[in-house]
């Protein structure tokens, strides 16, 4: 497999507290990769660290390679070429990522000037084309509006337009639909899938919403407490999750069909990064944990079916029918 981005042993610590414990991750050209996990699991920090966007106090180690070009410890000027150019990022809250006092057209033109050297009429024409591409109705009339004159969903479309300005090879979308209403969320997911098909850029989709990830990604990594615990093709992971945490995430989601029964929560809470359990970080919340799990930490290892798994006592391979349904049958 050719690799667009190769991350090896990426570690991050804030104030001496490690929050990311050695992430190995590859993104292939044109691939749609999902990163799933609960708050604090390190899914966003992974990419902020890879792009050198973390604050000074963060200690980052490991290597990040973008097509033979090492990004880790690269000088700022080189990173700035990559960010927005080769790799673009969009965030959960679009209205705070846009400059409130600059007209939207000018903001997109600025991105075009920085990353493609366009200015004047050609920049304006390209900005209008991008606004049209992300589904802003009547872009010519709205070119000179300010961000507050757009709705949340449209601000996210404008962010995507700015991200596309540098014709990136990789778009990192960090919870891009979390703050949006259900019907608007469906529109943005549809837009991201269409853009990937049309431009051939790779997408990393960071989300806590398993359903959304399943719809736009080909491959998924599940993260817990700063480590990847399971990774594989979407269909494989969703039909037969093997890590008890992945399985727990599925079981905890209420269903839109079938009987309305009690949910199956994951007991306890995510561990404090300052006091991680000795063995597997999930062991204290895991129903399948044995003595081994509390003392030894399982490595992320390839399985015979092609997935990666970090669990000593994984869920047996059976169809992913939630427990409550099996009982009722």
């Amino acid at each position: 497999m050719t690799k667009l981005v190769e991350i090896r042993d990426l570690r991050v610590a804030f104030d001496g507290v490690p929050v990311l414990h050695g992430i190995d991750l590859d993104v292939a050209p044109g691939e749609a990769l999902g990163l799933v996990g609960e708050s604090g699991c390190g899914k966003s920090v992974t990419w902020l660290a890879a792009l050198g966007l973390l604050p000074e106090k963060a200690r980052v180690s490991g290597s990040v390679v973008l097509e033979h070009r090492t990004l880790s410890n690269a000088p700022r000027s080189e990173l700035e070429q990559v960010r927005g150019g080769r790799i673009a990022m969009i965030f959960q809250d679009p209205s705070s990522a846009l400059n409130p006092v600059i007209r939207i057209g000018r903001q997109i033109c600025e991105a075009l000037r920085l990353h493609r050297g366009l200015s004047g009429k050609p920049a304006q024409a390209e900005a209008l084309r991008l606004m049209d591409m992300v589904g802003i109705p009547d872009p010519r009339r709205r070119f000179n509006l300010y961000p507050h004159e757009f709705s949340g969903g449209q601000c996210q479309r404008l962010m995507i337009a700015m991200a596309l300005a540098g014709e990136p090879d990789l778009l990192i979308a960090d919870e891009p639909t979390t703050a949006l209403d259900a019907t608007i969320q469906a529109q943005i997911l549809d837009l991201l899938a269409t853009l990937r098909r049309e431009t051939g850029m790779a997408t990393v989709f960071i989300s806590h919403d398993l359903g959304a990830v399943a719809q736009v990604c080909e491959r998924v990594c599940v993260m817990y407490a700063g480590r990847i615990v399971e990774a594989g093709p979407v269909a494989q992971l969703f039909e037969a999750p093997r890590h008890p945490y992945t399985r727990g995430l599925f079981d905890a989601i209420p269903r839109m069909d079938g009987p309305r029964t009690r949910l199956i929560p994951i007991d306890g809470t995510v561990p404090d990064p300052r006091a991680l359990p000795a063995g597997c970080a999930f062991a204290p919340r895991c129903a399948r944990a044995q003595v081994f799990c509390r003392t030894e930490r399982p490595e992320l290892l390839p399985q015979t079916d092609g997935r990666l798994l970090a669990c000593a006592y994984p869920v047996p391979t059976a169809p992913a029918v939630p427990q409550r349904e099996r009982v009722s049958q």
Partner: protein
């Protein structure tokens, strides 16, 4: 059975000004909403931002005044806001919000906060209050050793348990929850949803559950009302409404829920966004985004009509039986 809570033709109008000296435009945030909640029943209210669902929740408790219509609690009209009678009644109806941290006082221990409603409403002796706090904490799954903790020392899920325990302190007959689990992670969300389920069963509490998360609403609610731009557009039993939505808006809403294994292109993707409530479209407010709208939808406002036993829709194109008695 007499409903514990009954609302008739509720109207709430906000005034917005365009610019500093612009003209004042009235915005009908809630526009003629009628509903009823029986004792022990949970009514779900779903809708997107700006649909008026949160405003409606506050009006049901009398926190926000209504410009039209009336709320009846336990068969009697709701007393005037901020009167002693209203304050006394507030012990019987409580509210839980989305963000537990801002609903809690950072300088008080959680035991003190749970006891506060008992102090305010002068319930029991100090010893009785202390034992009530201990049993409330136990009921919502908080450990006794957490009593002396402060809100910032707890996780998000635990804080929401504190808020729920405090809301339950005065043994209310009605709980209005506004997005109570939306800020929580999936695994913790399931814990709090189960807690609310247990409370339904053990206390016979009636609930109004306001949320944009259809999956949670389906799991927790007996009946559901769908709101669009200040009006109820569809109402019915939770399971039936989500299995066979009648109103085109409900159909799009249900179809927009991402379900693992269902491909993206099988979803109904609505064009555009909810219109500005200050510039409500004529006729059916949904016609500008509706995939099946006909010319008449632009002209006449559809009323909420009974379409099947226990179900009602406000759509010209859904076959109706007779106008709903409530509308």
């Amino acid at each position: 059975m007499t409903p514990i809570l009954e609302a008739r033709d509720l109207v709430r109008i906000y005034e917005t000004r365009e610019g500093l000296f612009g003209k004042v435009t009235p915005v009908r945030a809630v526009d003629g909403v009628s509903l009823a909640v029986s004792p022990g029943e949970t009514l779900g209210i779903v809708g997107e931002s700006g649909s008026g669902k949160s405003t409606l929740g506050r009006m049901l408790l009398g926190v926000d005044p209504a410009q039209g219509g009336e709320v009846r609690f336990g068969g009697a009209p709701m007393p005037e806001r901020r009167t002693p009678a209203w304050r006394a009644l507030r012990a019987r109806m409580q509210m839980v919000f989305q963000d537990p941290l801002s609903a809690l006082d950072r300088r008080l221990t959680i035991a003190d906060q749970i006891r506060e409603p008992l102090d305010i409403h002068r319930v029991g002796t100090p010893e009785e209050r202390a034992s009530r706090v201990a049993s409330l904490m136990r009921n919502v799954g908080l450990r006794p050793d957490q009593a002396g903790r402060y809100p910032h020392e707890l996780s998000g899920g635990q804080r929401q348990r504190v808020v729920i325990a405090r809301a339950l302190a005065t043994d209310p007959a009605l709980l209005v929850c506004d997005e109570p689990v939306s800020a929580l992670d999936v695994s913790i969300q399931a814990q709090v949803v189960n807690l609310l389920r247990d409370l339904q069963e053990t206390t016979g509490l009636a609930m109004v559950f306001i949320s944009h998360d259809l999956k949670v609403v389906r799991n927790l609610c007996d009946r559901v009302a769908v709101m669009y731009l200040g009006r109820i557009v569809e109402e019915g039993p939770a399971e039936a409404l989500f299995a066979r939505p009648q109103h085109p808006y409900t159909q799009a809403l249900v179809s927009s829920v991402p379900v693992p294994g269902r491909p993206l292109d099988s979803r109904i993707i609505l064009q555009g966004e909810p219109p500005n409530p200050a510039a409500r479209p004529s006729g059916c407010a949904f016609h500008s985004r509706c995939p099946v709208a006909e010319p008449m939808c632009r002209g006449a406002v559809p009323g909420l009509r009974v379409t099947a036993p226990g179900r009602a829709s406000a759509c010209h194109l859904v076959a109706g039986a007779a106008p709903a008695s409530a509308a």
